[in-house]
């Protein structure tokens, strides 16, 4: 009992730069946490103004911000615990400042019935050190044919619906999911890539793929599916979120849809906003992701769209793959990169290069995804849950894959020089990670 109490002692994060993207606030001040809740965030609370027994942590020169809500992460439970468990994923998340993981339903079995949602929630509650909420499948078995029990799944705790990195090819099925899901205010999250246009492609179509002798995936594979979906959203009035947009053409489609007032939002992965196809270099399979990395022009457009709010969310697209699936020729290797632990540090590259301001980045990684999913995090308002990170924006470090907490080490930022990292992560008022 004393242990738990001491764990939950009030915390004062003092002398920090407080960034609350939910209110566009960025000011020097202190943040007081007690009983798992943010009490206040203001200038000059000071050590004198806190309850007895408060841990006072000096955060001079550091940023205090809401914990990140990662909207797209694959965890191996159930069915692929050798790739990742809730325990390991949550440790990686904590080290990366992610206080809420939204796990994907493309597990084995798929998260497509209420019992599996329940299993995931219990398993995560017992083993994870950050919050975990699952998305459930749009279609049974992710087969793209029959709609899942959207109402019951949502009641069981599914925060949104997606078929993972598969597209629902049948437009009628998608239409019905959007229509029926609309009755439950369900958010349909869709990976937009036409599998026939992907064909045997393994990287972005263009000169670079041609030189490597690899078959390309045209940007149209993504845009065609996104265009279709937007027509269906117009038809049904459903709530729709494009899971991972990657190219300029998709941004144009999105802009038109948003301008027309449709209930559409979109995410980009940390990989697509910080890397491009040239990073594949000599067939580096850790850079094989889905959709594929595009060209530098697309990357710049994605960042610009993030800055102007066209892109709502940045997610990690965390996808652990081990040696057996990655140490293969490029065309045979599984797509996917881990990202929970590196998403914020990688995103800070854009802040340091002047492409994006810190508040915008944090908004897209915390406030906005929490809003879309109806979760209480992503802000520093008094009374909200104390999911908070302390960030040293200027700390230089080199990523050593052996130090990563994920079970798999397939990071595209292998040996990368990064600037800025999370030094403390607090979940529900308890410090779950501290960088020493």
């Amino acid at each position: 009992m004393t242990m738990i109490l001491s764990d939950r002692r009030p915390i004062l994060l003092a002398n920090a730069r407080i960034v609350d993207p939910s209110r566009d606030l960025d000011f020097p001040g202190d943040l007081l946490i007690a009983n798992g809740v943010i009490r206040e965030a203001k200038k000059g609370i000071g050590a004198a103004g806190v309850p007895e027994g408060t841990d006072v942590i000096d955060c001079r020169g550091k940023v205090v911000a809401p914990g990140l809500v990662d909207m797209r992460a694959f965890i191996g439970e159930p069915g692929a615990a050798s790739r990742e468990t809730f325990a390991t994923a949550s440790q990686a998340a904590a080290a990366g400042g992610v206080t809420t993981i939204i796990c994907q339903p493309d597990t084995s079995p798929a998260i497509d019935d209420p019992a599996t949602v329940d299993y995931v929630l219990r398993r995560a509650r017992d083993t994870a050190i950050v919050h975990v909420h699952p998305m459930a499948a749009i279609t049974k078995g992710l087969e793209g044919r029959e709609m899942t029990e959207i109402g019951l799944l949502k009641a069981a705790g599914a925060v949104a619906f997606t078929d993972g990195d598969k597209s629902v090819v049948n437009a009628q099925v998608m239409r019905r999911a959007l229509t029926y899901g609309g009755d439950f205010d369900a958010l349909i999250v869709h990976h937009t890539e036409d599998p026939d246009l992907i064909g045997d492609g393994v990287m972005n179509e263009g000169e670079f793929a041609a030189r490597l002798g690899l078959l390309g995936i045209p940007k149209a594979a993504e845009t065609v599916m996104l265009e279709r979906d937007i027509r269906l959203v117009g038809l049904t009035g459903g709530r729709y979120h494009a899971a991972s947009v990657t190219c300029t053409e998709s941004l144009e489609v999105l802009r038109r849809a948003k301008d027309a007032g449709l209930a559409i939002t979109a995410a980009a992965s940390i990989n697509h906003i910080t890397l491009n196809e040239n990073d594949v270099g000599p067939y580096r399979t850790f850079l094989k992701v889905t959709p594929p990395l595009r060209d530098e022009d697309d990357r710049r457009q994605l960042v610009a769209s993030l800055a102007d709010g066209l892109i709502d969310v940045v997610m990690s697209d965390h996808n652990p793959q081990d040696v057996e699936t990655k140490r293969l020729p490029f065309s045979e290797a599984a797509p996917g990169a881990i990202g929970l632990e590196t998403m914020l540090s990688a995103g800070l590259r854009l802040v340091h290069s002047g492409e994006l301001d810190l508040t915008k980045l944090l908004h897209a990684m915390s406030t906005r995804p929490a809003e879309l999913l109806g979760l209480p995090g992503g802000l520093l308002r008094p009374g909200s849950p104390a999911d908070v990170i302390v960030l040293d924006v200027d700390m230089p470090w080199v990523l050593d894959p052996n130090e990563l907490k994920s079970k798999c080490k397939n990071t595209p930022f292998d040996e990368a020089r990064l600037t800025g990292r999370v030094v403390r992560t607090i979940v529900a008022g308890r410090t779950v990670y501290e960088y020493v």
């Binding site: 030189r211 490597l212 002798g213 690899l214 057996e324 140490r327 020729p329």
Partner: protein, 317 residues
């Protein structure tokens, strides 16, 4: 026997993974050395001792008759102990990865591994895990450097040069490792390179390879000194990339009429194996303008040149 070649050219690299990065001097050095082996190969006594004591493994993950035979003969004529491994019949089937195979073979201390694999980049992946010399004998749709060298050797013997020639490469450019290596070599040597194919068989971005692009044989072959035909694989026909064999042959198959668009003394080449009646007409393939048989002869000489020039750079050479 054992008359040493006059050329003392050394290919100072441990691996030949592609034409990319090979200089004009490297290419000329290899072609000169190959010339000498052509003569040696026409004698009764063909054997030399420059690779004596060396172990050469031909590791083929994809079936091949002529390339494997050619590397085997080349190694044996230079005195190496040559072992052929066809991995599609071996442990890869049991789930052993390419890298496990590389590590296993490496432990047997070969001096040279010659690798063919159906996936682009696979040879490079393997080369990173072994200590010996590695020669790419074709990786997916990426590169096939010894084929490009033997094409160059054949052209040089017949035209006396490569520089300034107009070379039209026709057919399935998209999936062709030969096309990629040929384009790089011919460009390095100062030829004018054209690719001719229906748009479905052209890699997007090919115009940035430093080639002229034609979708029509009349335009593409106009003024050509060399017409290089590529094999169209069965699975690309019948609707996926081209509608049918007969339509493909009608528009892109090399027959006497289409060959007449090229220069009167144009020469015809094909890396083999040919699909007669698909990309090339038998009359053209067997005509006096065809260099296809000579390409096979050059294949052995060029591979001897590559092995010799690389072995001069091996430890304890």
């Amino acid at each position: 026997m054992n008359i040493a070649p006059k050329s003392s050219f050394v290919l100072s690299r441990r691996q030949l993974l592609g034409m990319e990065g090979l200089s004009r001097e490297d290419i000329t050095g290899l072609l000169d050395l190959a010339e000498e082996f052509v003569e040696l190969n026409r004698q009764v006594e063909k054997k030399r001792a420059s690779l004596r004591g060396r172990t050469q493994i031909n590791l083929f993950f994809e079936a091949s008759t002529r390339t494997q035979a050619s590397f085997e003969l080349a190694g044996k004529r230079l005195g190496a102990d040559v072992m052929n491994m066809s991995v599609h019949s071996s442990s890869m089937r049991k789930g052993e990865t390419l890298i496990d195979t590389a590590i296993t073979l490496n432990a047997m201390h070969p001096d040279i591994i010659v690798v063919r694999h159906h996936a682009s980049g696979a040879v490079e992946l393997l080369a990173r895990k072994v200590d010996c010399a590695v020669i790419n004998a074709g990786d997916g749709s990426h590169e096939h450097p010894t084929q490009a060298l033997l094409d160059a050797a054949t052209i040089r013997r017949n035209k006396g040069r490569i520089e300034g020639l107009t070379i039209a490469i026709c057919g399935d450019i998209l999936h062709s490792r030969v096309a990629r290596s040929d384009i790089m070599l011919f460009n390095t040597m100062g030829a004018r390179v054209r690719v001719v194919a229906p748009s479905t068989l052209l890699p997007p971005g090919v115009e940035r390879f430093g080639v002229e692009v034609a979708r029509d044989m009349r335009e593409g072959l106009n003024g050509a000194d060399i017409v290089m035909m590529l094999r169209l694989q069965r699975e690309r026909m019948n609707g996926s990339y081209v509608p049918s064999v007969s339509e493909y042959f009608h528009y892109y198959g090399l027959d006497e009429r289409k060959l007449s668009y090229a220069k009167p003394d144009a020469l015809v080449m094909h890396p083999g194996p040919m699909n007669r009646g698909v990309e090339i007409d038998s009359i053209v393939a067997d005509s006096a303008q065809s260099l296809i048989r000579e390409q096979v002869e050059m294949g052995v000489a060029v591979r001897m040149a590559v092995l010799e020039a690389m072995s001069r750079n091996l430890p304890n050479a």
